[in-house]
């Protein structure tokens, strides 16, 4: 019997195909950025869900610290890995969008810079997880490091903003038209469904590994038959 997350995953795949088709061929060119503006439909949902997936990791971390239940740790583990994948994609997309609009692949823009720092912090958490055998230590350390990394994101953003800020074109509500909002929402939905599948699958892997690590239960007592 297929698990529930496969329904979300399949719907997500279909929605992503539809959303990308609409973004590439149906949506009008953006007023300032022209066809390059079509990157909006991939870049912004990825950015929002990278943050949101790290929020899930944060919830998992808090859940573990409050309840000590391993399920919360598996959620933390799953969401951090998915979040790192999203964060890498986010930075690459930002770079691809930056080249035609800013003329450079990279600038020390606050959002770009803090997203990079965010990636480094969560990669650090993954490496920390690998640095111990004990499941309890791993869960506690990871939860603590996740909370600190998460809280640090807005602080980093603020500091980089003060440090150096370049003026950039932002999509203000006036430049976003009706059809653009629709296409954007389709892509957001696709992302939500796909992230559900990613996190759920990764959670099952974490659970399976934890079960394999745990000492095997005693075999059932032999039935005595007369």
């Amino acid at each position: 019997m297929p698990k529930w997350e496969h329904i979300a995953g399949l719907l997500g795949l279909i929605t992503l195909i539809v959303g990308h088709y609409l973004g590439l061929f149906w949506a009008p060119p953006e007023r300032m950025m022209g066809d390059v503006g079509r990157l909006f439909y991939v870049h912004v949902p990825v950015a929002m869900f990278a943050m949101l997936v790290f929020c899930v990791a944060f919830v998992g971390a808090l859940g573990y610290l409050l309840t000590s239940r391993m399920e919360a740790d598996w959620l933390n583990e799953a969401a951090i890995e998915v979040g790192v994948v999203m964060n890498v994609l986010l930075l690459m997309l930002g770079s691809i969008w930056g080249k035609p609009t800013w003329g450079v692949w990279w600038t020390w823009d606050p959002r770009l810079t803090s997203a990079t720092v965010m990636l480094l912090t969560f990669v650090g958490v993954i490496l920390l997880r690998q640095a111990t055998q004990s499941p309890e230590k791993r869960a506690t350390w990871s939860a603590v490091a996740t909370v600190l990394a998460f809280v640090n994101v807005p602080v980093t953003y603020m500091s980089v903003k003060w440090w150096r800020s370049i003026h950039q074109m932002q999509s203000t509500p006036e430049t976003v038209s009706e059809p653009m909002v629709f296409v954007f929402r389709v892509n957001l939905l696709a992302m939500a469904l796909l992230m559900t599948w990613f996190i759920a699958r990764r959670w099952r892997i974490a659970k399976h590994r934890a079960m394999a690590e745990a000492p095997a239960p005693l075999p059932p007592a032999p039935q005595v038959t007369s």
Partner: protein, 225 residues
């Protein structure tokens, strides 16, 4: 005995150990001094050093601190695991704050010793308000010590601690490094726009967050360690 008194007991013990054999302070000092020299050798022109003095100072302190934060725990763990500290007649939170204050004091001592050397070596004209500079130094050292002390305990028990501690600390202290470097630089340059105080307030906010959160989590890390 309340927590504040216990904290000062731990701090006193730490500083006493350091006073009797100042291995960490001297190690950190020479590490930071070597860093200043290495950066100078790696720079294309001498003029660059002057403009990068603030950043170089704080990078040296950051690197030195990541080499030393786990040492702050290794003495406790020589004869066993971190659980030994649970037997101390003090609250775990007092152990954390005592250690973190001691680490701040050690870093600050290194800063005080290294700063005049940097001014001389890099030919930095100091024009600014020295009390502001002192405030930034105190807050910057505290900002490195707060997460460093917590992660030091974690990585002291982990495999590959020597690379793990910097990896965890670097991205976390980016705001502090930025604020301390820029703050030091604008104050040295004379600070006509009074930017120093905004960098200082960022450091204060960073410290408030990390000193409270790390204190909150420390007991848990110690128990599960």
């Amino acid at each position: 005995m309340n927590v504040i008194r216990q904290t000062f007991e731990v701090l006193r013990k730490e500083l006493l150990v350091e006073w009797r054999s100042p291995a960490r302070v001297s190690g950190l000092f020479f590490f930071a001094l070597a860093m200043l020299l290495m950066v100078a050798f790696a720079s294309p022109t001498e003029g660059i050093l002057r403009t990068q003095a603030g950043g170089t100072l704080w990078i040296s302190l950051l690197l030195a601190s990541t080499r030393s934060m786990d040492q702050s725990w290794s003495t406790e763990m020589e004869h066993g695991a971190a659980e030994g500290m649970l037997l101390w007649p003090v609250e775990p939170v007092a152990i954390y704050y005592g250690k973190a204050l001691a680490n701040t004091a050690i870093l600050l001592a290194v800063t005080v010793a290294i700063f005049p050397l940097m001014v001389g070596l890099y030919d930095v004209p100091v024009r600014g308000d020295l009390s502001m500079l002192a405030a930034i130094a105190v807050m910057g050292c505290a900002a490195l010590a707060a997460p460093g002390t917590l992660y030091g305990l974690i990585t002291a028990q982990a495999r590959g601690a020597s690379v793990l501690l910097p990896l965890l600390m670097f991205p976390l202290v980016v705001p502090a490094l930025l604020a301390a470097s820029r703050g030091t630089m604008v104050v040295i340059e004379g600070d006509p726009m009074l930017q120093g105080s905004s960098w200082l307030s960022l450091l204060v906010a960073f410290n408030a967050i990390h000193w409270s959160l790390s204190g909150l989590f420390f007991g848990r890390v110690l128990e599960d360690g």
